[in-house]
Amino acid sequence: MNTTIRLQREPFDVGAEVTKLAGDRSDIGAVVTFTGICRADENGAPIAALTLEHYAGMAETEIARHVEEAHARWPLLGVTVIHRYGRISPGEVIVLVVTASSHRQAAFAAAEFLMDYLKTRAPFWKQVEAAGGAAWVEAKSADDAAAERWSAPPQRQDAAR
């Protein structure tokens, strides 16, 4: 499996990353991407930027462990996870997940699994910079619920898809 995991401060080119993953393979029938973008507002109020703090030593190994788990659950041919940290302006990409497989259900399921994981368990923290000052983003219970659905045995997930 082609696996790329990167944590970086710099912006990156989503199209180039997809090409890098899938471009040289003729057994890939399905590629799913998720791109998370910094919105210009948070809870209805305009924001100037997001700042992402992360636990550098832990984040990369934790993400790698979950990519391995995705690979064990679904027949994947490639996975790319790129997560930025530092200051990110509205409209900029925060996170990219790319999953490639022979078949679409595996690619969709693995991308959702990895995003649910990144939202709830990867050691990153978002701070919003707005007119009123800086504030840490609160964790959402909807994200926890989304992550919960993967704790059932993998067989169930396969059957449902």
């Binding site: 998370g36 992402l52 703090e53 992360h54 636990y55 030593g57 832990m58 190994t61 934790e62 997560h83 925060i94 996170v95 995003m115 990144l118 939202k119 709830t120 368990r121 990867a122 050691p123 990153f124 923290w125 978002k126 701070q127 840490w136 983003v137 609160e138 964790a139």
Partner: protein, 85 residues
């Protein structure tokens, strides 16, 4: 026992530092007990850990629960619920 402790996000901001070396007394055996002990170290610590239930912890870069033993730990991190992705 000497331990390296890391703090992130608003836990870090409230305590006022990103990391430190600590020497908890022998009676402190679990992550939960360490949180209680840290909370007693002063006003900034008390503020950081005022709602101990929301604080997450990792030992040697793996998520752990409050009842995890700290014996043998090299690095313990405390942080709020994660908001990545």
């Amino acid at each position: 026992m000497s331990l390296r402790v890391l703090y992130f996000a608003w836990v870090r901001e409230r305590i006022g530092k990103a990391e430190e070396e600590i020497e908890p007394p022998a009676g402190v055996a679990t992550v939960g007990q360490l949180v209680a002990w840290l909370a007693g170290r002063g006003e900034s610590y008390a503020y950081a850990f005022e709602n101990a239930k929301v604080i997450r912890a990792a030992i040697d870069r793996t998520h752990v629960r409050a009842d995890a033993k700290i014996e043998g730990a090299g690095e313990i991190a405390f942080f709020p619920p994660m908001t990545g992705g």
